[in-house]
């Protein structure tokens, strides 16, 4: 597996980016190749496999929110395509 991505837990459906991707690139992942479509910074997430609209995003082996549209493997997973499943009042410091 490419050393620039990290799988934190076997049941995760996202990888964590360890070293930035500067552009579109095809990389080796645990289950074959995935396409990173564009730049992704350190600490951000990319999809390990296709994730359905509304499906939980799993990191550390637990849900950290849900996809707000269908995602393909390698896609950057962030504010634009997932959301918190938690009560919003606990995230007042930043609107996410």
């Amino acid at each position: 597996m490419d050393k620039r991505i990290l799988l934190l837990h076997p049941s995760d459906n996202v990888y964590v980016v360890c070293q930035s991707f500067t552009g579109r690139e095809r990389i080796a992942a645990a289950e074959g190749e995935i396409l990173i479509p564009g730049p992704v910074d350190v600490g951000h997430k990319v999809a390990r496999r296709a994730i359905d609209d509304g499906e939980p995003v799993i990191k550390y082996g637990v849900p950290i929110g849900s996809a707000t549209r269908a995602l393909v493997a390698g896609e950057h997973v962030h504010l634009h395509n997932m959301r918190s499943d938690y009560i919003a009042s606990h995230a007042r410091g930043g609107r996410v």
Partner: protein, 399 residues
């Protein structure tokens, strides 16, 4: 590993004399005694308030009779509300020598410092005779906190601590994690790991209490910087902190000053009970470290992304740097570089093993980086707690 056996049967990994001021008015005199002693094992601790507080008394008692502590000198101005006789009596009852100096009755600053130095010298003589004893991993209490977190904390240093905790819990140590305010969103996942259903309910309730408390104080726990660093949701941020706890079953819930009854993994609830009264649950990282020490922590594992330089009085702090850039900026203050995980040079499991080996070395006397630099921070302020309920420490799982 070799430690010190106290008369109460507990074993410490350091042989510390605490010089404790019981009100801010006695702080300077206490500090002069510590500084003039010139001895590494003489540590300054104290409580600044003049009004009495049950929590503060309980924490002062717990840290003054901590297994790493062999004796105490108490510094009272004379008129403060702290129950100095009660504290001295408890320390004496634990088999530790204690001397109390009342500044108003000791001739003032210079005279009290001179008397304090004599007291320290007497205690040093007694401590030199403390019996050494082998100490095993299953006799250790290890705490963990995170401070100055960033987007890397939850993917490098925190999971590495989780691996280390799993191994230490399996080998019988008592491991304590905390920060219920940063477990908001993790309560269901965490509750599933509880040893009993009743404990599960207590764990959930502690996080719900934290959520209410922070809401009243208007404290937001998701900052824009978190998103810049790759964190998307509150529960993701919380999971980053939560993964310090590893995967072990949770054996109990403690409040500051409670001692784990045996090996296992424990959650420390640091958020006060009742209506918010004295301000933020923890005003700085060292307030949390003091509470872990009050629960018996021999060593604290401190993960940081942005970087911190602190250590602690009484119990050594091991600093684990999550961010490789921060590690390059503050190399002289870090014990372990977990940031190399991000650069493909290690894994959370391997760094967890590094932390485990360092815990053993530090327990055997090797100084941590902050210890060698003379960091001996201590802070204690007002709080209020109800005692834990019977479900918090299920009898069936006591080691």
């Amino acid at each position: 590993m070799k430690g010190w056996l106290r008369q109460d049967g507990r074993k410490g990994i350091r042989n510390v004399i605490v010089v404790a001021y019981l009100v801010e008015c006695a702080h300077h005199v206490a500090r002069l005694i510590v500084d003039s002693s010139g001895q590494d094992n003489v540590h300054l601790i104290g409580f600044p308030g003049c009004y009495p507080n049950e929590y503060a008394h309980r924490v002062m008692r717990a840290v003054s009779t901590h297994p790493n502590v062999g004796g105490a000198v108490l510094l009272s101005l004379g008129c403060e509300g702290f129950h100095r006789e009660g504290l001295a009596e408890d320390i004496r009852a634990s088999g530790r020598p204690v001397e109390t100096l009342v500044i108003q009755e000791s001739g003032g600053t210079r005279s009290t410092v001179a008397r304090g130095l004599e007291a320290v010298a007497r205690l040093q003589e007694e401590l030199a005779g403390q019996p050494r004893a082998a100490i095993a991993l299953d006799e250790l209490v290890i705490g963990t906190i995170c401070g100055g977190s960033d987007g890397t904390s939850g993917i490098t240093a925190n999971p590495a601590v989780g691996h280390c905790f799993d191994r230490m819990v399996a080998e019988g140590a008592a491991c304590i994690f905390e920060e219920t305010g940063e477990l908001i969103g993790c309560e269901d996942v965490m509750a599933q790991r509880a040893a009993t259903p009743a404990l599960a309910a207590e764990l959930k309730a502690s996080v719900e209490k934290a959520a209410r408390y922070y809401e009243v104080l208007g404290y937001g726990s998701f900052a824009p910087g978190n998103a810049d660093g790759g964190l998307t949701t509150q529960e993701e941020k919380s999971m980053g902190a939560y993964c310090k706890s590893g995967d072990s079953r949770i054996s109990g819930l403690l409040k500051p000053g409670d001692q784990p009854p045996g090996g296992g993994l424990y959650l420390l609830d640091v958020v006060p009970d009742g209506e918010p009264l004295f301000g933020f649950p923890n005003i700085s990282d060292n307030a949390e470290i003091v509470e872990l020490i009050a629960c018996g922590a021999h060593i604290t594992l401190f993960t940081t992304g942005r970087g911190s330089v602190v250590g602690s009085a009484i119990s050594p702090v091991i600093k684990i740097c999550a961010n490789p850039e921060t590690y390059r900026k503050l190399p002289e203050d870090m014990d372990i570089n977990a940031g190399k995980i991000l650069e493909g040079e290690s894994t959370p499991a391997r760094v967890g093993e590094e932390i485990y080996q360092l815990v053993r070395a530090v327990a055997d006397g090797a100084p941590t980086v902050s210890e060698a630099l003379g960091h001996r921070e201590f802070i204690l302020t007002y709080k209020q707690f109800e005692p834990i309920g019977p479900a918090c420490l299920p009898v069936s799982v006591r080691g």
